[in-house]
Subunit: 181 residues, 2 copies
């Protein structure tokens, strides 16, 4: 669907980094006027809603520089170039939590900030995980701590703003709905 | 919580635009090594889960440049400097849909992309809306079309990837849970 399409007549790349690229697109609007759009290009990401044998949610706590605080989130990570989303989901689950699974069910994929970024997050579910004999190395500049939470504990962390990101907020509702059905 | 804090020893501002600012922070990691973080500063946003008298969800379709396609989303918009989130939510509801309300209930606030951006979205709910006599002007470079959807219609749009953003995906689960309770 291209309703209200904005046609690009010029793209200026401001910055190309390890994770994001910033472009400024000059566009023609549906009414013929022109405007500029600030656009972040991102490789995309995955996240895993993983429940253990006790029905607890696997989460990781990590420092999030943009907010200057640590957040408790479901395991997640960026896609490597050419990597399949499900491969990435399994890799991130293993690296961040030391668990693995042979049952990953795709739940949904959504754009996180459609106004200015093309980042998409692919969300998977599993309730069949087992501990790896040896946990693989993750990114060398990533420090995470494993947590396993009941729904009540997770909702308490959400009230306390320690769970406070879109994919984990989505995961808690998904989990609640799954329990209620 | 500052667990695994990354201390900034240098910030370079690459770009300051109308919507985003891009900074590169040089940081010291918990293990004493250093790294760089690409950080998008964003003013924050609001979104409204609004149900009409028939229990249909108010949505707007608009072109989203980062994805080069139009998406169907719940009404939303950026915070103006100094603007209260609830004031912004009412303003965006009125501008984008022509509806107003005197009952806005805060639902949650979440960071959309905590790995690289500080954008927070404050989500509100209302099931008490009425049509404005006159719809206020919105942003002059914004073109949106109103839609009012049953849950079944919304879920069909989600399957067809016309609803495909984090806040609207969250809204559909929130709505389903509310109906089921």
């Amino acid at each position: 669907m291209k309703k209200f399409e904005e046609k690009t007549y010029h793209t200026e790349t401001i910055y190309t980094g390890k994770i994001v690229q910033l472009n400024i697109d000059s566009v023609t609007l549906p009414d013929g006027n022109t405007s500029k759009r600030e656009l972040i290009k991102h490789p995309g990401a995955v996240a895993v809603i993983a429940l253990n044998d006790e029905g607890k949610l696997i989460c990781v706590e990590q420092y999030r520089k943009p907010m200057e605080k640590s957040l408790v989130e479901i395991p997640a990570g960026k896609l490597e170039p050419g990597e399949e989303a499900s491969t990435c989901a399994l890799r991130e689950l293993e690296e961040e939590t030391g668990y693995t699974t042979d049952s990953l069910e795709w739940v949904t994929s959504f754009y996180t900030s459609p106004g200015f970024a093309d980042e998409i997050v692919h969300i998977y579910f599993t309730d069949q995980i087992k501990v790896l004999d040896q946990r693989p190395d993750g990114d060398e500049d990533e420090f995470v701590e494993l947590m396993e939470l009941t729904l009540e504990e997770a909702e308490e962390l959400e009230r306390n703003q320690r769970i406070q990101d879109a994919k984990t907020a989505y995961a808690l509702l998904y989990w609640k709905l799954r329990i209620s059905e």
